[in-house]
Amino acid sequence: MSDRVIDVEGVSKSFGAKRVVDKLSLQVQRGEIFGFLGPNGSGKTTSIRMLCGLLTPDEGQGTCLGYDIRTQSAAIKSEVGYMTQRFSFYEDLSIRENLEFVASIYQLVNTREAVDAALQNLGLQDRQRQLAGALSGGWKQRMALAACLLHRPKLLLLDEPTAGVDPKARRDFWAELHRLAAEGITVLVSTHYMDEAERCTRLAYIAYGKLLVQGTPEELVAGSGLSNWTVTGNGLAELQNELAHTAAAEQVVPFGSSLHVSGTDGAALEHALQPYFARSGIRWERGDVRLEDVFIHLMRDTADAPP
């Protein structure tokens, strides 16, 4: 098998007349933590479902773990761990019962030991008798991850796994993902959170079903061509209003006690900001372009030109 765990080309899916995923091409290498970003309704879930054989693409082809996504979905299912966006385990079964069910479906040789180990790994032993429906978001997410890992999958597909989970649980979850990646498991994770995007080894950004960019966080920042200025001081709210009418200042975003101003044309931006540089009480500085600026920039571009 090649090192391309996921390799799809020109995959599309429509529901009725609506094209939800449009000619998606995606390559994911073994051991990567691949971030899948995009606004709500951009087709992330649909794409992931096509990767694991839950939906059949209308056109395009590709492989997942070397198996054809159109014809070999049974093989894909037994080697992939898929964590659905919505909690999809049985709320009227306990954690242990849910895990035992999953273990038997994957026909693990020693169900009890496998479940015990999974409970241990994710710190769920004390709660194993609780009904899944009674758990908080963070614990549900851990249980779901434990269930996805039971059959030792080679690829994890995680669909917004940390939505509605508190920051501490999120941090633990990501630590766990990095540990898994270090063991050689490939992870594809969709997310909304920028701090999570920054922890990915590679990223793809999708909007209105179209893949806009793909690369490492550094590549995306460099490729965006954005320049950034950071202002600190007094009267930033008024300054933000004034800059809203400046074409070259495409994004004016308050960030803590400062204002981030960025634009694609660095020279034009500097020229446009010239009048404000001398204003008293504020301090201007060239800033670093962050991933968030890149994505907001991408989102604005696509919002201006809807399909």
């Binding site: 694991c52 839950l54 093989a75 299912k77 898929y82 999809s88 049985y90 038997s104 479906i105 026909q107």
Partner: protein, 376 residues
């Protein structure tokens, strides 16, 4: 590499079973529905209505006819409400439901009686509610020899025990002449149809609505494993209902148990599975629980109306009979009534059993084909 697996099926069954046992509504339905239905239908049919409105049609006024009418009245079941002048008038009363019976004494009754000719007295019964007429008709039949004992003396005394006249009984509107015992066995079929289809129809759509279907489909489970795994626990539920109905029917209402219990339980199994395949097929067709419920009722109504439970099968028009033949309940009613009341053996049961088996095969095939392996 991914054939049918008993282990996965077992896991499905176990999971389904735990869920059923934790679902109080299902439990309540399992025990409550048979009890309520038994009570409703059972006590309703157990009543022994007397003083039923009756019309006597007869031009003659002789001591014989007077004694006959007196004896009929004395049985307690008949209230003579009308003495219509013509047959047309009498049957109009019956048709409108003003009277339940018309007793028609022939014009030459006394003459023929004296000649020892054993004349026939016609009893026209509105048997559309068989529970109402059954006992009354039974009471009449024993009335022949005693009724005229005092009037027929000496040379007129009938030879030996031969009855001096006979009853000719016409059951109108209900040629089958269903007796009260027919209802409790039928009820078993109705209860099973209702609960089995509804529970399984909901079983799969519940997974869809709760989002757990996505997970099931993402795992290496085969459609047959999911379907059969969902069916099996409800077989047990069905047997609990059968036990409740049979025990209640037997000990409260004295329904006889003529045939073999084992044969009955075997036929019940086939019938339960037939219903479950319907439910599970609805379940994979419906997009949500409301649709699943609607489909269940859509199936339930003709089952009750056209199977011979509500209306006697032979009284239905031919097109309705053909529809009835397609319904599992029709065949099951014949089976269960045959076994319980007439003591059917396996040989006699077979003609009503194979249509059920055929039904299962056809529906299961359709269901498996319609089963969505993906979320498309």
């Amino acid at each position: 590499m991914n054939g049918f697996s008993w282990r996965r099926l077992r896991a499905m069954v176990r999971k389904e079973f735990v869920q059923v046992s934790r679902d109080r509504l299902t439990f309540a339905m399992m025990i409550g529905v048979p009890m309520i239905q038994l009570a409703l239908f059972g006590f309703a049919i157990n009543s022994d209505p007397k003083h039923l409105p009756t019309a006597v049609l007869g031009a003659e006024q002789t001591e014989f006819t007077r004694s006959l009418v007196a004896a009929v009245r004395a049985s307690g079941y008949f209230d003579i409400r009308a003495t219509p002048a013509s047959a047309d008038e009498a049957f109009e009363l019956l048709h409108r439901g003003d009277v339940q019976f018309v007793i028609a004494i022939p014009p030459d009754f006394s003459q023929r009686l004296v000649r020892g000719e054993t004349p026939a007295v016609l009893l026209e019964a509105d048997a559309s509610d068989p529970a109402a007429t059954g006992n009354a008709v039974a009471a009449l039949s024993v009335l022949t020899s005693g009724a005229l004992r005092h009037d027929l003396k000496g040379v007129l005394a009938p030879q030996q025990a031969a009855a001096p006249f006979e009853w000719r009984i016409h059951r109108r509107y209900n040629p089958d002449g269903i007796t009260q015992y027919n209802i409790v066995p039928g009820l078993m079929g109705v209860i099973l149809t209702m609960t089995m289809i509804m529970m399984t129809a909901l079983a799969m759509t519940r997974e869809l609505e709760r989002g757990t279907m996505e997970n099931l489909l993402a795992m290496p489970l085969r459609p047959a494993e999911i379907m059969i795994g969902k069916i099996l626990p409800y077989v047990l539920v069905g047997y609990v209902q059968v036990a409740v109905t049979l025990l209640g029917g037997h000990f409260i209402f004295g329904v006889p148990m003529v045939g073999s219990l084992w044969l009955l339980l075997a036929c019940v199994l086939v019938f339960i599975v037939a219903n479950l395949t319907v439910g599970i097929t609805f379940s994979s067709l419906a997009r949500n629980q409301t649709q699943a419920m609607q489909m269940s009722f859509f199936f339930f109504l003709p089952s009750i109306l056209l199977s011979g439970f509500m209306f006697p099968y032979r009284g239905m028009p031919v097109w309705a009979q053909w529809l009835g033949e397609l319904l599992p309940l029709t065949h099951f009613l014949r089976l269960v009534r045959g076994i319980l009341l007439k003591g059917y053996g396996a040989g006699e049961a077979w003609p009503h059993l194979w249509p059920l088996l055929l039904f299962i095969i056809v529906v299961m095939t359709v269901g498996l084909q319609r089963f969505r392996r993906t979320l498309d």
